[in-house]
């Protein structure tokens, strides 16, 4: 469920060793003439101390800062960094990364830009995990954890991970593709120490391999198995046996091919679960008419530690009451695949007093959101997805729901809200009622839609958000927006790191305001907005501080992009051609540019031109 969250930091390794060393160092440091065996020169002592201290430093931003102090600190920091995070796989080469950091145990790697999720980028653009897998195999044979996001992973890569890393424990693939069930089969079979296999929103091709059966026999160390995105049948009996021999299993998210009857059988074997994805939550087709329905309530009641519930992929709402026993303990509930009404939601949500994260479909209407606001006083994150994601459908949720949430859930930090209509008043109200907002993403599905009550653009609403929500780091705008809105963002959005813009703005000034006004801006993704080369030029001072800039269907020309490429040699400027564009067209379909130490990549496909 954590689409863009930073991942947990891991505790520093080997404290005992560190403190021993410290003791020894102190004793040598205090006396002036004691020739202790481990210090060959005075600076070595300092480095040892530093190493011990830096082990405790987990935040990568802190580490980046520490590495800039001096060469000695740079060296020691590189030695002690065990978790390597690379936000853009093309910003640095595997070789360079492994040369600098030699003791990495955990790798985080991100590939394609987010707009690739919405078909705005052709497949086979890149972000291949393969070169990284091979480089890691040589440099970090002790590698334990790999977290990938929007990368292209092949079956061979999965085999590499399982075979070449003997202590491999944790694989998390978010929004990845390129592999199938046969790769999974090899991976789970060879990876004997596996604790975590999380497949989240990834595309897994069905090679008709029974990968669940490929888990080795004997007691398993599995703590987390998440495969709700895998769109193929699984061998249920094998799964049941796997659960029976996985006493440490805490997180378990099933795909929609698991019926509620099967869910029951799994739950009774794993009452220790903390995170459960319920699969289809409906009976299979083979249910006989006379069969006794199992006691689902009892199964849920037995899971006393359950705090996170999701799934409900093909829900039959009659079965919802089964989850009543766990509602009071839930901190996270994901109903974003459950097409339920407000009436069906109310009995559930009224029990969820501790809820902090709630994902839901707009089928619950404003009324459902009011019920949420009435009970979930501790809510931190809300996502409302549309059942009917079209521009011109009826909108079951509106400004009414947003207003209610803002009044009831004062601690809200993150919101993603899809709707057909929204007023400035409601957005302004949220900006005042929820000052802790860090993420505000509002998607008014009809393009260029104004405030239906006043007829005005949505400038003031978003303006209020950047003005009043002082902690805001991520913003996505929509609706009818003029340059004024961007003026507000530039003036007040000083902490904004990620900005998503679509069908907005009047002129280059809008983009200028943002590029000149937002010093923390790292990720800027823009589509279908009237920004041209002049606007692009206004960001030259800032592009090296950004992870990437994406601009599609704007008013850029090859000439303008070429200028940028020439002015900034460490920037990779990719022009991505659409299927029907001619090469000679001066108009740029999609611009994707990012800082990189490596220059133009060598694996670019034909439709990408690197300027």
């Amino acid at each position: 469920m954590s689409e863009d969250d930073e991942r947990q930091q891991y505790p520093p390794p080997d404290l005992e060793f560190a403190s021993n060393k410290a003791r020894n160092c102190n004793s040598t440091g205090s006396g002036s003439g004691h020739p202790e065996f481990q210090s060959t020169y005075p600076d070595q002592v300092l480095e040892n101390v530093l190493e011990n201290v830096l082990h405790f430093l987990t935040s990568r931003r802190d580490r980046n800062a520490a590495s800039l102090v001096c060469k000695s600190w740079y060296r020691v920091e590189a030695l002690t960094r065990s978790e390597l995070f690379i936000g853009n796989c093309y910003a640095v080469s595997p070789g360079r990364a492994t040369a600098r950091f030699t003791r990495v145990k955990t790798l985080h790697l991100k590939g394609k830009p987010r707009f690739a999720d919405f078909n705005l980028m052709p497949p086979d653009w890149g972000a291949h995990f393969n070169p990284w897998a091979l480089a890691m195999a040589k440099a970090y044979p002790w590698l334990e954890k790999v977290h990938l996001k929007r990368m292209s992973v092949t079956d061979d890569d999965l085999a590499t991970l399982a075979e070449l890393f003997l202590g491999f424990k944790e694989l998390v693939l978010v929004c990845c593709d390129g592999f199938g069930t046969s790769g999974l089969g090899i991976f789970v079979n060879k990876c004997r120490q596996l604790k975590v296999l999380d497949l989240i929103e990834s595309e897994v091709s069905d090679d008709e391999t029974d990968w669940i059966s490929c888990f080795p026999e004997g007691e398993s160390n599995l703590e987390s198995l998440i495969f709700d995105c895998v769109e193929c049948h699984i061998n249920f009996e094998a799964l049941e046996r796997l659960v029976a021999r996985s006493p440490s299993l805490k997180k378990f998210k099933l795909n929609r091919y698991v019926s509620i009857g099967q869910l029951y059988r799994l739950m009774v074997r794993a009452p220790q679960l903390t995170h459960l994805g319920t699969g289809s939550f409906s009976p299979s087709d083979i249910v006989g008419q006379g069969d006794q329905e199992p006691d689902y309530v009892a199964a849920f009641a037995a899971c006393r530690s359950l705090v996170c519930l999701s799934g409900f992929r093909e829900i039959i709402p009659d079965y919802l009451p089964a989850i009543y026993p766990v509602c009071a303990n839930l901190t996270s509930l994901n109903f974003s695949y459950a097409n339920i009404t407000a009436e069906q939601l109310k009995p559930i949500i009224s029990k969820c007093h501790k809820l902090q994260t709630f994902w839901v479909l707009d089928s619950i209407c404003d009324e459902g959101l009011q019920a949420v606001a009435a009970t979930c006083k501790d809510l931190r994150e809300l996502r409302v997805f549309p059942v009917d994601p079209r521009e011109d459908s009826d909108g079951p949720v509106s400004e009414v729901g947003l207003q209610a949430i803002s009044e009831g859930c004062r601690k809200l930090q993150s919101i993603l809200y899809f709707c057909q209509r929204m007023t400035n008043a409601a957005v302004i109200a949220m900006s005042k009622n929820c000052p802790d907002l860090v993420v505000f993403r509002l998607c008014i599905m009809g393009r260029h839609r104004a405030d239906p009550v006043t007829g005005e653009p949505m400038d003031d609403g978003f303006g209020a958000i950047v003005m009043n929500c002082k902690k805001l780091t991520r913003l996505a705008v929509s609706g009818l927006l003029t340059d004024k809105a961007f003026g507000y963002i530039g003036r007040h959005g000083k902490l904004v790191r990620t900005l998503s813009v679509a069908f907005a703005g009047d002129s280059d000034m809008a983009l200028k305001y943002v590029l000149e006004g937002c010093p923390q801006l790292q990720k800027l993704e823009i589509r279908d907005s009237p920004f041209g080369d002049a606007a692009l030029r206004s960001g030259l001072h800032h592009y090296y501080n950004m992870r990437f800039l994406w601009m599609s269907s704007c008013r850029l020309t090859h000439h303008g992009c070429q200028e940028i490429a020439r002015a900034m040699p460490r920037l990779v400027v990719e022009v991505i051609r659409s299927a029907d564009e001619e090469e000679m067209d001066d108009v740029v379909g999609t611009l994707y540019m990012y800082r990189s130490l490596e220059g133009p990549r060598t694996d670019a496909p034909k439709f990408v031109t690197i300027l």
Binding site: D285, D295, D318, Y337, R390, E391, C443, F503, A579, D580
Partner: protein
């Protein structure tokens, strides 16, 4: 709920976008004009939204003269054509990758001057003199069958999301809200929902609705899904969809007869409102007129499968059809033939380069 799953087919979205993205400015207020031209073109500052709107309509009207004009009447629904067009997209145009440059508003404008892609976009605006047709349509939609239709908004009566010809022109005497919402055909990647979230409505609909009357507790048992495989079926021109139980039939013939029955009454009623008084009589007469599907060829049956593709009914063995069909559509054959579809039942038409992404 009657809906058209247009966004289920991201690969079709790019079919229509280039043409539609003319009318951006909702507020007629003023300077919020989008520069409607290729970069660098000197623009007339007096140009306002209405002017731009009309310009677009005229433009499309010009390009359409050579083509068959689709009849517009009270029962017709422009969206149906779009669903036909989608079908075209399915059979004819689908590029190997669904991706395309999407809503290239600005490049669309630059291409305008080249005149080249216009014919390709099967434009629904056809040869409509704007205000007149708008008025006509708006009135038609005054009698919405769907309770969901918002008052005063020019939408299609069955709620299908397509294009409504709302204009910012204050002179248009229609039931357009002061919001002056201008609708668009779907655009690639908008709204920004990942594809696995898109079929939720159809997933939950094709699961049979359980009868909850006897269920008090959690052990409530819905009817055995095996015997009930209801899928929604919409007929072109009829705002209200129906449901058919696919598992009740054993062959395509049985199914098409059943669909005949289902819609004949409604069709007759629409042709002649007074006929609703005599339902059985109307049914008879409708049947006598050679029922829609029973070989007359006047209508064609299409279904949506579990991958979201639109397929001509009859292409696959019956059992496969039953297990994969998620929705049915009954479309007028006459329109299908003007939209070159590759199918077994129609003669194969040459790939029309005009209808392209």
């Amino acid at each position: 709920m009657v809906t058209d799953k247009m966004v289920d087919y991201p690969q079709f979205l790019n079919l229509m976008n280039k043409e539609w993205l003319v009318n951006h400015k909702v507020s007629e207020d003023k300077k919020l004009e989008l520069r409607l031209g290729p970069p660098g073109e000197a623009l007339d500052d007096n140009r306002n939204t209405t002017h731009g709107t009309k310009r677009a309509f005229q433009h499309t009207a010009e390009t359409r003269t050579g083509e068959k004009e689709w009849p517009i009447d009270t029962t017709k629904n422009q969206c149906q054509k779009i669903s036909c067009i989608e079908k075209i997209g399915d059979k004819v145009n689908l590029p190997p990758t669904p991706w395309s440059s999407g809503s290239t508003i600005y490049s669309a404008f630059s291409k305008d001057t080249k005149e080249e892609p216009q014919h390709s976009k099967a434009s629904f605006f056809q040869s409509l003199p704007v205000s007149k047709k708008l008025a006509g349509m708006a009135e038609d939609f005054k009698q919405p069958c769907s309770p969901r239709m918002a008052v005063g908004e020019v939408q299609f009566a069955d709620g299908k999301a397509c294009c409504s010809l709302a204009t910012a022109d204050p002179d248009a005497s229609t039931n357009i809200t002061s919001n002056k919402r201008i609708e668009y055909s779907p655009v690639v990647g908008w709204p920004p929902i990942r594809s696995f979230r898109k079929n939720i409505a159809s997933n939950s609909l094709s699961k049979p609705a359980s009868e909850s009357s006897n269920d008090k507790d959690t052990g409530g048992k819905p009817e055995n899904p095996k015997t009930q495989l209801f899928v929604k079926i919409n007929m072109e021109g009829i705002p209200i969809g129906r449901k058919v139980n696919l598992s009740a039939y054993n062959s395509y013939e049985e199914l098409s007869l059943a669909i005949d029955d289902l819609f004949s009454g409604l069709l007759a009623a629409q042709r002649d409102p007074s006929a609703t008084q005599n339902e059985s009589k109307a049914k008879e007469s409708a049947k006598a007129e050679a029922g829609p599907l029973a070989g007359s060829g006047e209508y064609t049956l299409i279904y949506e499968d579990n991958e979201g593709d639109r397929v001509l009914v009859g292409d696959v063995p019956w059992n496969m059809f039953v297990s994969t069909a998620k929705r049915l559509h009954v479309l007028k054959s006459s329109e299908l033939s003007t939209l070159q579809i590759c199918s077994n039942e129609k003669e194969k038409a040459p790939f029309d380069p005009a209808v392209h992404i």
